[in-house]
């Protein structure tokens, strides 16, 4: 009940995403779909850019939503409620995850439809491949919200030099993950099943020309099994989320 109330409150607070941004976004994507036969690369590039923009916009919106609670003092009202830190954070992240899923799905679907309409499904882009990339995108993006907000919550536990502390924590997280945790996680999770992207153009018909057998095989994402990397990222995000919740309760004075 408490979580549901917080979730609904967040949903109302973030209604701009659904009421104003969403219709505009859908209209733009429909515009790309209707114009790509005349302006192929422009439409294709812009819809690809949207995928990147959504990634950063939603992640920053999630942390901005929390920071705004402190700025507007509504945090004092929120924290005076008998709820734990994880209730508050999870409600915020849940709503932003929905935004992330809905918007990115439309963006990916648009790119897929343009590619399919222009080159046909079997050439280099397959629906199953797009779904796979989209799922990885979600798997990287949603945990990023927990991680992005961590330096801000940490800095709130201190009375001075908050921006400096937030920057320092962000750098430590970045270096710590990529230099130490990721290589370690890759070893630990090496038992996970093989998952790579291999897109082959062999035997396909590309722009009216049949490709000779075994002409080209592109391992698009990585030639290594990427699942250990994703698993490490996910575990890292879970640990950071626990840290977020504990520090949120400790550093409410902001």
């Amino acid at each position: 009940m408490k979580f549901k109330s917080l979730f609904l409150k967040e949903l109302k607070q973030e209604k701009a995403w659904f009421m104003y941004i969403f219709p505009g976004f859908v209209i733009l994507e429909l515009l790309f779909l209707s114009l790509y036969k005349h302006y192929l690369w422009q439409c294709f590039a812009l819809s690809m850019i949207f995928i990147v923009v959504i990634f950063f916009a939603v992640i920053f919106s999630a942390s901005h939503s929390l920071v705004n609670e402190w700025k507007l003092h509504t945090s004092q009202f929120l924290f005076s409620l008998p709820v734990r830190g994880w209730h508050i954070l999870l409600a915020k992240f849940a709503v932003h995850s929905i935004v992330f899923i809905v918007f990115s799905f439309i963006a990916f679907f648009t790119v897929y439809l343009i590619a399919k309409g222009q080159w046909g499904e079997s050439v280099w882009i397959k629906s199953t491949g797009v779904v796979k990339i989209w799922l990885i995108y979600l798997f990287v993006g949603i945990p990023s919200m927990f991680i992005e907000v961590f330096p801000r919550i940490t800095s709130n536990c201190f009375m001075r030099f908050r921006k400096l502390i937030a920057s320092f924590v962000a750098i430590v997280l970045f270096i710590g993950f990529f230099n130490y945790l990721l290589p370690l996680g890759w070893k630990i999770f090496s038992f996970l099943p093989e998952a790579t992207f291999t897109t082959s153009m062999s035997g396909q018909v590309f722009q009216g020309v049949p490709m000779p057998p075994d002409l080209l095989t592109i391992k698009t994402a990585t030639s290594e099994n990427f699942l250990p990397g994703l698993a490490t990222w996910f575990l890292f995000a879970v640990l950071i989320f626990i840290g977020d919740c504990l520090l949120l309760e400790k550093g409410e004075e902001g």
Binding site: M1, K2, K4, S5, K9, K12, Q13, H73, T74, S75, Q76, F77, F79, S80, L81, P82, V83, R84, G85, M159, R160, E249, K250, E252, E253
Partner: protein
């Protein structure tokens, strides 16, 4: 009758300021206590410590037989001195939202308090004046029946009419001997008749403490005049 609040040798420092210094205070249940002191005396810090928003560097705090933590807030109603409500919510929405978190929420009190405090429930909080928004904040506390009510400067920056309405609502909804109210303020005139006990606080330390009637008798003055003398 046990203690509602027990603070032992509490020290809270901010950079360059000692907000509370070796502060000790025990309050009995079922009383209305006035926490009086000028701006910057440590009243708000004390409230925040009781709520568990901040932690002391030193000392022990016991609230309703427990340590301040998020779950003990189910038994406490806190009215912040700050404008803490969501401006995009209507009064109806904030009432519905807040009521979901408390088992002691008295639905029947809502309409009575809306009328008493002259609040329109369909209006957005962001459209209200500061005085009206204060009334809404107080209303959220009074719609409940908590063991402890903490009111942090509810009379500050609001007009006479709002002050009178808040005071009236406080008196009408107070559960005598069951509830404890700690009212921090530096505006004493209107609030004086409410107090059972008074704690004068200055620079993070207790200056004077006692039952309101005893203080009046001892100094042969009303609380406002004692306040002026204590803080002159």
């Amino acid at each position: 009758m046990g203690l509602v609040l027990d603070l032992k040798n509490v020290t809270k420092k901010y950079p360059g300021v000692d907000a509370l210094k070796d502060f000790s205070l025990s309050l009995d249940r079922g009383k209305i206590v006035g926490l009086l002191g000028p701006n910057g005396s440590g009243k708000t810090t004390l409230m925040k410590l009781i709520m568990g928003f901040i932690k002391p560097q030193k000392g022990e705090i016991t609230v309703l037989d427990g340590v301040p933590n998020p779950m003990i807030r189910e038994k406490i109603a806190y009215v912040s001195e700050l404008d803490v409500l969501y401006p995009w919510m209507t009064v109806r929405e904030i009432l519905d939202f807040t009521s979901n978190f408390y088992r002691d929420w008295e639905k029947g009190k809502e309409s009575e308090l809306l009328q008493l405090l002259a609040i329109e429930q369909d209006k957005k909080i962001g459209t209200f004046s500061y005085g009206m928004r204060t009334r809404v904040r107080v209303m959220l506390a009074l719609c409940r029946k908590p063991e402890l009510v903490l009111l942090d400067d509810p009379f500050s920056g609001i007009d006479l009419v709002s002050r009178a309405k808040v005071q009236d609502a406080l008196l009408k909804t107070y559960h005598y001997k069951e509830q404890s109210i700690v009212l921090a303020t530096h505006i004493i005139d209107e609030a004086e008749p409410l107090f059972d006990e008074i704690v004068f606080i200055e620079k993070g330390q207790i200056n004077l403490q006692g039952k309101a009637d005893d203080l009046r008798e001892k100094y042969s003055k009303n609380i406002t005049d004692i306040y002026k003398e204590v803080f002159k």
